[in-house]
Amino acid sequence: MRGADFLIKALKEHQVDTVFGYPGGAIMPVYDALVDGGIKHILCRHEQGAVFAADGYARASGRLGVCIATSGPGATNLLTGIANAYMDSVPLLAITGQVNSNLVGTDAFQEVDIFGLSLGVVKHSFLITSIEELPDAIYQAIQIAQEGRPGPVLLDIAKDVQLANIDDVTITATNKEATVADKTSMQKAAKLFSQSKKPLFYAGGGIGMANAEATFRELVNTAKAPTVTTLKGIGALPHNDPHNLGMLGMHGTKAANLAVQDCDLLIAIGARFDDRATGQLNKFAPKAKVIHFDCDAAEISKLRQADARILGDLNKNLIKFQAKINACHNNHWLEDCQDKKHQHQFNYNSATEGIFAPALLKRLSEMCQNHPTIVTCDVGQHQMWVAQHMGFNKISEHLSSGGLGAMGYGLPSAIGAQLAMPQHRVINVSGDGSIMMNIQELATLIRYQIPVKLLLLDNQRLGMVRQWQHLFFKNRFSEVDLSDNPDFALVAKAFGVVSNSISQPSQIESALDEFINSKSSYLLHVSINPDENVWPLVPPGKSNSEFIERSYS
């Protein structure tokens, strides 16, 4: 068989059923192998769409996401998506064609040193210029992408290698035995917990990546301690769980940020003290000792010194920790936090006319409770409103470009999520800026009859940037006006996507009803107030207790 056939066969043997990609010269043998390779290939309309779709597929299902592109422009178009997977630790395999091995290094047609270009955004990478290297590289790539802290792996394969002959052998990627923390650290952590009067869980996306939601929930129920989540940790506890104080950080809930500032023990689990979560680092959780659970040694004490470092597999370590602790002895603490949560609930009454996006999203979320729903976001105000006002019961129900904050993530990741989870309802909440970054994927929805629902919150602005210009640049608005947007409902129709447009609160109920119950793809265009801002907000560089609240520009 050819190297290309071997690749497809290896993917199949590792339970890859769907790949996303875009063909071209240097990857043609692989596309030839796909013709009868027994794997479903989804043709996206831009390589960035393909890599984001593979990312969405991986996040929604917990399985490996695979994308394929040709050399040169195909490969460079993947880069943003590879970086996105890197920042958010998503198991992703990016396969690129490379020019013939004898042409590598000669500036050949469509030759780009993608191996070199991607070094800073991959967990690992391979450039394969001889057929002997191919089998081992494939198996290693599949394994590395998924084991430990997941991440993207690049497999750049010269065209002549794809065509070269190879024996049909079967080698399977094996997972390394997961490590657990040493006894002394665990004992120390348990002791810190028993001494603590105000313990707080700080739950990150790692809980989802490690498939440790269930163990985490049991731990919280045993510990009876309040919990804050990061953007990627949303869903670690059910949204209505009494321990859940919501998201912390720049646009976090007041209850969450106040609890962090007040706690005497912060138990970070699969979280990495990102600046959007911590605000000014040296004022973050100023009274707290820290226990840090992570599978990546380089994350523990990277930004905040841990008093107990619990390194290794989250599932195993959380179970061990749970066995060593009793419920928090100070039950006033949880009650206090819950009171604050109650006191500082979001206000859904808008001061202006028209549709108030937070209220609309809250209603959408309520209406979606009857059926498992995945929501993907783009980046901006709408992304923060989704995080604040929609309720999630699992981490994999909320897909957001967290670390990279890449506009254009929403639609393609929804495509990947829907293909991975066909029984789920999948909704992309986007903004009028972000949607234009990968709008070509509307064609993918139609081609494969993918029933993704698109909720477009149109404020005719690059809203989040406008908000910062309002708050931090004295209202000097620079290049944020999108009032000449196309007619998005008409754009959708041109692709064959059913659409509707609303602008009045009275239209919300019936429009949302039709939207979520539609059997096909659907775009609901919602006109909202251009001057609306996301509140509360912790200004960059400020402590999380210094949040500012509603004002209008």
Partner: protein, 89 residues
């Protein structure tokens, strides 16, 4: 305060290993004062010696280096001796 440190790295001599290491050192904001690399005969390991300087935490750099797939070992050599470093091997 900036401090200078001397690191010894043993790695698999795979494609781009030196690039990966140097990229990481730069990105994590360490200045490279000296570097030498040398492959052992009949082995696919490479020994790399770095003299780096930063006000960032060296321990974290070492953990980041250790995370690179093909890095086998990262050690800090306490005696910083430029001559040894240059003539390493």
């Amino acid at each position: 305060m900036k401090t200078q440190s001397d690191l010894t790295i043993v790695a698999k001599n795979s494609l781009g290993i030196l690039e990966r290491i140097l990229r990481l050192v730069r990105h994590r904001r360490f200045i490279l004062n000296n570097v030498s690399a040398h492959c052992e005969e009949n082995s696919n390991a490479v020994n790399i010696r770095l003299v780096v300087e930063s006000d960032r935490d060296l321990g974290n750099l070492m953990l980041q280096l250790q995370k690179l797939m093909d890095v086998i070992e990262v050690r800090q050599s306490h005696e910083y001796q430029l001559r040894n470093c240059l003539g390493y091997g």
